[in-house]
Amino acid sequence: MTWCPGCGDFGVLEALREAFSRTGLDPAQTVLVTGSGCSSMIGFFVKTYAIHGLHGRALPIAWGVKLANPSLKVIVAGGDGDAFAVGAGHLVHIARRNPDLTYLIMDNGCYGLTRGQASPTARRGGMAEENGAGQPINPLAFLITAGATFVAQGYSEDPQSLILLIQQALNHHGFAAVNILSPCPTFNRPEAAPPYRPEVVNIEATSHPVHDRLEALRLAMTEDDRLRVGVFYRENRDVLNEKPKGAGREDGRDDLTRLGEIMDELKP
């Protein structure tokens, strides 16, 4: 089991491995949750705990993992289909809750596994165009509006920036999403889909005001032939994956005592 020769996902895997090792993640304390798709196979290629296979539900599964054990490092990875087609609703709701998760979206503008149909991010003029496609989703604008507190864009062919972006995402406290252009040479070939051999611009070099949501949106919505790589938006907001504040335990009473109290309340 492997990807096609030249698949962008190889680059993402390499960058992820490198970022893991630089960040010093303990595989036993790390959970990588993926959905379904070529890109979601990445879970089979790492040595951490992992979950694979429910198309579009990687994010809520991952949030469930994190809620149950906040001490784990939880990473979500998968395709643009997983993130923006079936999974769009979850992304909208989980981003705004800002759990401490890292989401790596491997965006190839198509459904690779099912042989290349247009995904919601399919660029106009690409091979993968289908009936009634409409205007594509702008992944970065989508994530910023949804309420993600760290939004970046990477490129599988630009490993050095990508490693740094993944590292920053892993270190961000809150919901960090990196949309990674990761071409599918089999179904969405560079010569057919112009943005797939793009001129790369690293926005870190510019003076982009990374804490300004509207400026971030403006930049995200700027569409030309160039691929902007870097951190578009960043914010500090309450993180919601920790167990609810004021939760018991701290007061030293054990479960049995608490359960007894609950039952006392249930006397008529």
């Binding site: 951490t48 705990y49 694979h52 296979g53 599964i61 784990l72 709701h93 609950i262 039952m263």
Partner: protein
Amino acid sequence: MFHFMRAAMEREDRIIRIAGEGGQGVITIGELLDRAVAQIGLNVLTESTFTSEIKGGDVMFQLTASPLPVPSQGDRLDILVALSDRGYRTNKDKLSPGCVLIYDHEDTRPEGLSGVILYPIPMMDISESLGNPILKNMVALGAVAQLFSIPMNVLQDQIRKRFSKKDPSMLRMNLKALEAGFIYAAEQIRKQDPYQIPLEKRKDDFLLLNGNEAIGLGALLAGCRFYSSYPITPATTIGDWFSRYLPGLGGSVIQAEDPIESAALTIGASYAGAKAMTCTSGPGLDLMQECIGFAGTAEIPIVIVDVQRVGPGNGGATQHEQSDLFAAAFGSHGDLPKIVLAAADVRDCLYLTIEAFNLAERYQVPVILLSDASLSRRSQTVSRPNLPEIRITNRILYDSARSSYARYQVTHDGISPMAVPGQSGGEYIATGLEHTETGSPGYSPQGHTIMTDKRFGKLDTLEEDFLPMEREGPAHAKVGIVSWGSTQGSVREAVQRFQQIGADVAALYPKLLWPLPVKALETFASSVKKVVVVEANKQGQLASMIRADTRIETHGIQTYSGVPISPWDIFGKEFIVRRNGEVYFNGAQSSDGVQDGSQGDVVSRVR
């Protein structure tokens, strides 16, 4: 068959029904009465119906109080309290000679009721004289207290508990109205009926719970520390329970954005080691089927509660039906092993929820617990659980001392140790693809066969492990009733009546419905001449499953009217009782007259 009715009426239970419209506070005074009567030490059972509109629509609340356990809502009334003329009219058919009617003679004019004892109370007048027309219900409650000797201090206590948090002037008004009703009844009504609420102090320590609360309590006792759901009637209040109590136990509660999300969260939490649950009703169960299939394939234990309502489609959100059994057992595509349990009463809601977690953990499968709309709001007393006695099962964990680990190892019983994130050396991938022992995608013909057998093989010992199942009646009987879910109560009551008249009827109440407890069913069937399956659905879903997996011929009593099956639906309609007390099941619904049992061989297979 009127003599059977009389026999039933000689019981010591009292049934009081309050009827009116949405917004009149029918449920409020019903619940106060319920709590008061329970507090003084009686067994209670409530039944209520309303539609899902927020304002308006018929509402009724019924309370049965008895020194003995109350099996079902019954099929008669002793006392009807009509808060509106509509409340009176929709219920007057239930009034038989000897019943009491309490009503407001300003709006209601009872006519043509023979032998019914009438107690008119000017509820609206009194309420308005207190400056607030909304207090009618409390006036009625006061009158009820006076007429049937319900201690006022207990009622006042309950009212204080309920209203104290809200504004104190509300509390004062309500207490005043209660008193005004009481005084009016004492001064103006001459008691003509024999009913009193008996004052018996229960000696045990007990709780008062409805089905949904009992599920919540059961989950907490089982060790559930993660809960997520999306609101859907009649399951919603289980979420309220967890919001109230789970954070205090260090657990997490998430109101998800749709039922799929709640199921996915539950799967993730369980993978991470928490005992996790989600609750829903039919439409939500449909949406969760893909997640259920994933959990089954990846062998992640989860508990799903389906509080059934009228289906199909959106159906009737507040109405009662037992029609999700097929979907629970067969709904997710492919060959998927899972466990389906059904709760018959509030006590079951508590203990079967614990069992659901135990089974999920032991077998690493999705466990679906079926409850229903009637049970969700049925209030019953339950002995206080003794915490140390509760048996809790936890999943078999990977032993990190071992050198190599294959998550899906094919073991002798199919159950493979599970690693939990944090355990070093246990790193594995859980996947919904068919897989090898280590979790890699595995597409070989042998592989899929072996893994399918492994997953199903886990449940081979289930019927022996899981015993809860009740049988009642004589060891051998002409007719053996099988029933499930909350219909059990009415069957139990019907069986009691059959016994009173010396008729030969036994009953079996399975709690494990899937995989079907074949041995127990066949043993039961071999002890009776005919098996009659009683359930509240059109297709005779359990009957169909029994025929598929056993050699039993089944006859069916099915209703699908949105209200629970009553004892009379069983006792009265489908059975032929001969003078000598022998009883036969008459398969043809429309047939009447006494038939000999030997003619009853026509099979009423239910399609």
